[in-house]
């Protein structure tokens, strides 16, 4: 067949080929974010996939080279915006590692509460979105109510809901209020709180034949391939490797806690779903343990919410208004003139969808010399074409949501 279309610019051989080219994205209702995948379809089967990155690249690493450390926290909010507190804490921990700041135990436990809440809010979105993409909408609505409660807890502590900018280098900006603890109690309540809702969600999904047939064998990856790509987090654990940063290099006193690592076998969507569900239960148990530990502090210790590092942690406002020394520190920190030692650090935390690393080089100036974010999504997305090749088009959509690809983190 040779039809000449001089007025249309078509690639060589595009009229003769037997496959259809489909642009899945950059703005497609099924992709939950700005992803582009150019698919070669034979009927509904994907023969070849090419993924594109960079649609919402905002040059965070470059911007960070012109910002003092405390101003980089709002940038980390915008990496994985489903669990921005983990990114914030990871960044604070990196700065503390460079500056040699040691945080008190109570701060560590409070951070763990916030980080695990963030992990739950991320996993519940991911799992319920897998449900939505496979045609089950109501589970999403019910779980969403508890994400709202988690966001209210953030709001009580830092004042914001999605892009939290929570905490400071050395601790929190303020102690948890009574209302925050009350809301946490409400969240943890066995009968009316999140555990009951999660149990109901599992009843709807886990052993449902339609859901199982839809997700079993969909987008699988072997443990070896996953490790070759550099997978971490729930996606690697679903493939059967029990790697968890919280256990292998504990940060923020995670070594004081008792929890298990759920692993899957085949690394398909169903395994990822089960692993995330089980991780939510583990997170709930960690939060309960941390809550009990925080409540154990008595007297003056129970009021500690930041490390005693006047050179890096902003003095209290009432001291700034009245005391000269506090005012000097205040200006020094805000102007970005706090002493930064020369050196390089790598620090990673178990982000909600994998190992989130910060590689920071400092030449002693007021800003980082170089900062690199190790974003797990970027790595998962490299494997995405391989995962969906040979599958159906609708499986590609579920695979994407069950890998928990977040566009903000992918492009940074």
């Amino acid at each position: 067949m040779s039809v000449q279309h001089d007025h249309i610019l078509l690639p060589e051989g595009s009229l003769e080929k037997q496959t259809t080219t489909l642009n899945l994205g950059p703005t497609h209702p099924a992709t939950h974010g700005v992803f582009q995948n150019i698919l070669e379809l034979d009927g509904e089967r994907i023969m070849k996939a090419t993924s594109t990155v960079g649609y919402i690249h905002r040059a965070f690493e470059k911007i960070a080279e012109r910002r003092p450390l405390y101003q980089i926290t709002p940038l980390t909010d915008r990496l994985n915006y489903c669990s921005s507190p983990i990114n914030n804490m990871g960044w604070h921990l990196t700065c503390e590692k460079l500056l040699g700041v040691k945080t008190p135990k109570r701060v560590d436990y409070m951070r763990i509460i916030i980080m695990e809440l963030a992990r739950i809010s991320d996993h519940l979105i991911c799992n319920s979105i897998v449900g939505v993409d496979s045609g089950a909408y109501s589970g999403f609505l019910y779980l969403m109510q508890f994400r709202e409660l988690i966001y209210e807890i953030y709001e009580e502590i830092c004042g914001s809901r999605l892009t939290t900018n929570i905490g400071r280098i050395g601790g929190f900006e303020r102690n948890f209020t009574a209302v925050a603890w009350e809301k946490l109690d409400k969240f943890l309540d066995e009968k009316t709180g999140y555990p009951a809702q999660l149990r109901e969600f599992e009843k709807l999904f886990t052993r449902n034949r339609i859901f199982m047939e839809r997700t079993i064998g969909c987008g699988p990856i072997s443990a070896e391939r996953a490790m070759n790509y550099g997978f971490t987090g729930p996606n690697l654990r679903a493939a059967g490797v029990d790697y968890d940063v919280r256990v292998h290099s504990p940060y923020s006193s995670y070594e004081d806690f008792d929890f298990t690592i759920p692993v899957g076998k085949t690394g398909d969507c169903y395994d990822r779903f089960l692993v995330r569900n089980e991780e939510m239960w583990q997170s709930l148990s960690i939060i309960k343990q941390a809550y009990a530990k925080v409540k154990e502090f008595k007297g003056a210790e129970a009021e500690i919410y930041h490390a005693d590092v006047p050179a890096y942690y902003l003095p209290e406002k009432k001291d700034v208004y009245t005391k000269m020394e506090a005012l000097i520190y205040h200006f020094k920190i805000i102007m970005g003139e706090a002493e930064m030692p020369v050196g390089e650090v790598y620090n990673s935390v178990e982000g909600a969808n994998g190992e989130l690393g910060f590689y920071l080089i400092s030449d002693g100036g007021r800003t980082p010399y170089r900062l690199h974010f190790r974003r797990p999504c970027f790595i998962y997305y490299q494997a995405y074409p391989e995962l969906i090749q040979g599958g159906m088009l609708s499986d590609a959509v579920i695979t994407m949501s069950s890998l928990n690809l977040i566009a903000g983190e992918l492009d940074a």
Binding site: D77, C158, K203, L204, I210, F259, V263, Y321, F331, G336
Partner: protein, 184 residues
């Protein structure tokens, strides 16, 4: 795959039982769960009519504060502009003239003060940076306007109503967040 830790817990992937293989019970179970939610308390709020209570530290739009005598607190030191990661704040300082003591608290004040609300990311660093208790993040949010230039808020739009002239409006703008300053 050899286990790396002793904390492994395999997820349950047992095959479907006979009961689970039949579609009908699963569908009935799902229908029952969704049906039972009809009788539960509604979690939604009719937004523009009703509003959710905010936390006292909610980070909304900025206000420029006055002291209890109605004088502007801001001295145009520029710390908020330095701290702003979005580079949304600009200001110009001026010196207080004799006879303006009832307008400005300190000898220096901001002649021009602008916040570009399209750039602002509501991180709250300006409030944290302010050594004079002058800028606050209030409870109002979601401004609407027709043109982009109208989102560059100038000083008259940001200033809180004068507590001496209009104490009610002042109280309303302050919300449950900030307490009036007690020091100079």
């Amino acid at each position: 795959m050899q286990a790396l830790t002793n904390r492994v817990k395999e997820v349950d992937r047992k095959p479907l039982s006979f009961m689970e293989k039949m579609y009908l019970p699963a569908i009935l179970k799902g229908m029952f769960i969704t049906f039972s939610h009809i009788f539960k308390k509604k979690p939604t709020i009719n937004y523009p009519e009703k509003k959710r209570p905010f936390s006292p530290v909610f980070r909304g739009m900025q206000i420029l504060n006055r002291d209890e005598e109605g004088r502007e607190n801001c001295t145009a030191c520029g710390l908020c502009a330095v701290a702003c990661p979005a580079e949304a704040i600009t200001m110009e300082a001026a010196e207080r003239q004799p006879g303006e003591e009832h307008l400005y608290r300190e000898e220096k004040y901001a002649a021009k003060y602008e916040i570009n609300m399209l750039r602002c990311i509501f991180c709250g660093l300006c409030e944290e940076a302010c050594p004079k208790d002058a800028i606050y993040l209030s409870e109002s949010f979601a401004p609407a306007d027709y043109q982009r230039k109208q989102f560059v808020y100038n000083k008259s739009e940001l200033l809180i109503p004068n507590p001496k002239e209009d104490p009610e409006a002042y109280k309303k703008a302050l919300g449950n967040r900030a307490k009036p300053t007690t020091n100079a």
